[in-house]
Amino acid sequence: MTLHAPAINYVALLPFLLLVGAATTLLFMTALTRNRLSTVVSTSIAVAAALGGFITTFVQWFEVNHHGATTTAAHAIVMDGFSVVMAASITSSLTFALLIAHDWQGRERFNGAEYQMLALLATSGALLMTQANDLVLLFLGLEILSIALYCIIAFNRRRLKSSESSMKYFLLGGFAAAIFIYGVALAYGASGTTNVTALSYFLGTNHLLHPGLLLAGGGLMMIAFAFKVQAVPFHFWSPDVYEGAPTPVTGFHASIVWGGAFAAMIRVMISGLGTQVSTWRPIFFVLIVLSTLVGAAFAILQGNAKRLLAYSSVSHSGFILLGVWTGTAAGVAASSFYVLTYAPVVLGTFAIVALVGGVGDANHELEKYRGLARRNPWIGASLAVLLLSQLGVPFTVGFDGKFAVLAATIDAGNTVGAVVAMVAACIAAFAYLRWTTSLFVAENLDLEPLVVPFASRVVITLSVAYALILGIDPSWLTSITSHATLLFQP
């Protein structure tokens, strides 16, 4: 008997391999050098890998545009417009997240390469989730992401909140992962395959006499996805994790983990279970209504900046689910556009939150932001722009994102969901506007102005420029995301 290894298209795996390669390099450098690596060296290597991954997504984009979407490694890995766009979002977010973490490491005196290594590995898991065309591989990506993430959430051992939030996230994340893989096992029993495209083909060509197994499997997978994207009622962990995790990790979570989870959810629900859209739509509708409203209402009640941003991202998840609800190519394009508009903006916000938080993540109460724009005019103005973008004010990129998902969902007939989401956006506006106006009051003028290190300055400048430039003309980004189609869609 001979074994035939499947052919592998390495272009499809290049961003993933770059990140894993850089993490391994850092691991060996740490093991083989006598002194601890300086943060500058480890950040440089990690950022180079992240930028390299970002550039290779352009090569992938060229491949997909000229030769079409492909699968590789026995159809387990897919390279299509959607995966390339999400990979570009994730790798660029990683660059930002590493730069924010660099300044944080300087403040907290964490030398060495451990943080960069774990961040690279977690991101490689997120990339695998965007490209996985097999449910078992998706589970592996999810766990590579999650296990590295548990470590970096608990990174600050001097802070009890950090370990505590990691413990909570670990227990609930493990529970969600077990639920997910049980769903995969049941779907496998119902269809005889774990491959997403084969599952869709099976469901399209067979009529299930006893759909119970498939319904249970799909339902369990949906619960796990709702948990990962922090949709209400599976969001209860997120404020604690956002507050407890070191601020750069919170930014990492809000952009990379969130993007990877949405990519996986969209692929499984639309590419895999797209034939069952009429079954899962009502459940998504409930998730949309609850997430947008509960996220917005609780955001108002928070006195802590990071908890406010946690509930705000719950509300943003509801908006993306509007695009997923449609189950159409237009909905997928709108959802991926929303991820692209949200990730850089939220990273810029967390760069400022990390600076205000200071040593030991001590100052996250909203009172600490009063008068920030008087002390640091540029930082205050930048934070105002980023918050208004999350609120969805016209001429910021957040408005375009909200407009795209609302247009897609109304086109597909979900007017009620769109109206609920708009009401929720109005409620959330109160939380953002209160925070924004408090930046400009003449208080706390005796406090020292913040010192803004170079790396944070780069992140803040780029994210504000992104929010404003794309806010005025988003056409080039929408033309890219309109090509962000899934390999297979029933």
Binding site: I147, A154, M167, I179, Y182, G192, W237
Partner: protein, 101 residues
């Protein structure tokens, strides 16, 4: 004696249910953690049963992946428990009240 495949599936569902129930009711981090392991092993049993009844090798291979992931989770999970235990000398999740959400 020939045991029908359905019995294995019911057993696996029961194990998964016991694990989920234990996770939601017990308050010691270590025991909650063991409940997750029980759930994962119920999944393994389901995979093997389906692989056998579908005559498909894919399900058996999935079991290896699940086992590896479970082992990796144990390592990190116990690391976090030890990090908290050093500060607190308790593994009860009821005492993790630094933040309330």
């Amino acid at each position: 004696m020939n045991v029908p495949a359905a019995w294995y599936l019911v057993l696996a569902a029961l194990l998964f249910g016991i694990g989920a129930f234990g996770f939601l009711t017990r308050r010691s981090a270590i025991i909650m953690f063991m409940c997750i392991e029980l759930m994962l092993n119920a999944v393994n049993l389901t995979f093997v049963t389906f692989a056998r009844s579908l005559s498909d090798i894919g399900g058996q291979i999935s079991v290896f992946f699940v086992m590896v992931v479970a082992a990796a989770e144990v390592t990190v999970g116990l690391g976090i428990v030890v990090a908290i235990f050093r500060r607190r000398a308790s593994t009860s999740v009821d005492e993790l009240t630094e933040m309330k959400g």
